[in-house]
Amino acid sequence: MTALPEEVEAWIGQRKYEQWGAFEVERGYIFTSCSSVQNGNPIFWDEKVAEEITGGPIAPPSMISVWFRPHYWSPGLSEEALALQLHFDLKAILGLPEAVMSDNTITFYEPVRVGDRLKTTQILRSVSEPKTTKLGTGRFWVLEVEVENQDGKLCAIESYTGFGYQKGNA
């Protein structure tokens, strides 16, 4: 497990999985998300405050990944669709059946507004040499997701560090 497969080397820096979100940004999920952490910020709950401060209803910035996660099931889908497909591609090609995310960085640009349709692109930035942690032996990788709205404006860049591993050989 020391040499990185050439195919994976070639993925580094490549823009992959350019995808539109399955639905428009909507308030139901915004309320559910705010409820899940008891976020009472009035820009998400009070239309008058939202109009005054943000020029209309927006989504909490930290919800950015919500809008491009696929449905668990939809008609015609034979298997579970996966968010961050590149992460699962890496697990498969590197033979690392388990994985966790460790670091997350999100930089926020244009606010995400109710009714927006978002497009994402996944980019592999790096893959580490094999490492052993308390979870097992595997590799760390850094993935970026760029998020744009329907007008081509950059809304966010999200960076994840994942650790794919095999259990039991730590």
């Binding site: 899940s36 952490v37 976020n39 943000t54 930290s62 997350n104 926020f108």
Partner: protein, 161 residues
């Protein structure tokens, strides 16, 4: 901790943010996973989490973690505070039965060339004595009563440093 309306001049380097404690239940974890459309079983299926991930229970997922940090930060800034960047490192998972203790302090403040007032925060999420997640955040706050960071865009909004 009630919503504030912090202005840049009121912020001091070294200032502590009010603490926040959250009791975590299985519902907390599952609600956060579903609210963030994360269907992966380690966030709702205890057997899967134990057998496949080797963890002691289901655990809070990444976007839910981010949502808690956002809430913690904007509880302090008030609604005109606008997140520019959030960066966090999950050192350990948070499980049902844990109490999450959030604390934070102001590490730096500055006004950029466009006149935007930035505050850099260092935040810790602890369970007991252990820091489970360390977070750094860059948030814009108004520099004057008439300033509104949400109205900034293009060259006037520089969240990356």
């Amino acid at each position: 901790m009630s919503a504030g309306n912090i202005e840049f001049d009121e912020v001091e380097v070294g200032q502590a943010l009010p603490q926040l404690a959250i009791e975590v239940t299985p519902s907390t974890v599952v609600l956060g996973a579903l609210a963030s459309r994360d269907w992966r079983p380690m966030h709702h299926d205890k057997d899967f989490a134990q057998d496949r991930n080797g963890t002691r229970h289901i655990f809070i997922n990444t976007p839910h973690n981010a949502a808690y940090f956002e809430r913690y930060i904007t509880d302090w800034t008030g609604p005109r505070g606008r997140l520019g960047r959030i960066q966090f490192k999950m050192r350990d998972s948070v499980f049902p039965g844990d109490t999450m203790d959030f604390s934070g302090k102001v590490e730096a403040k500055s006004v950029d060339a466009a006149g935007c007032g930035w505050v850099e925060l260092a935040i810790e999420l602890r369970v007991g004595e252990k820091i489970t997640t360390a977070c750094r955040a860059r948030v814009a706050v108004p520099t004057a009563p008439e300033d509104n960071p949400w109205q900034r865009g293009g060259e006037a909004w520089k969240p990356a440093v």
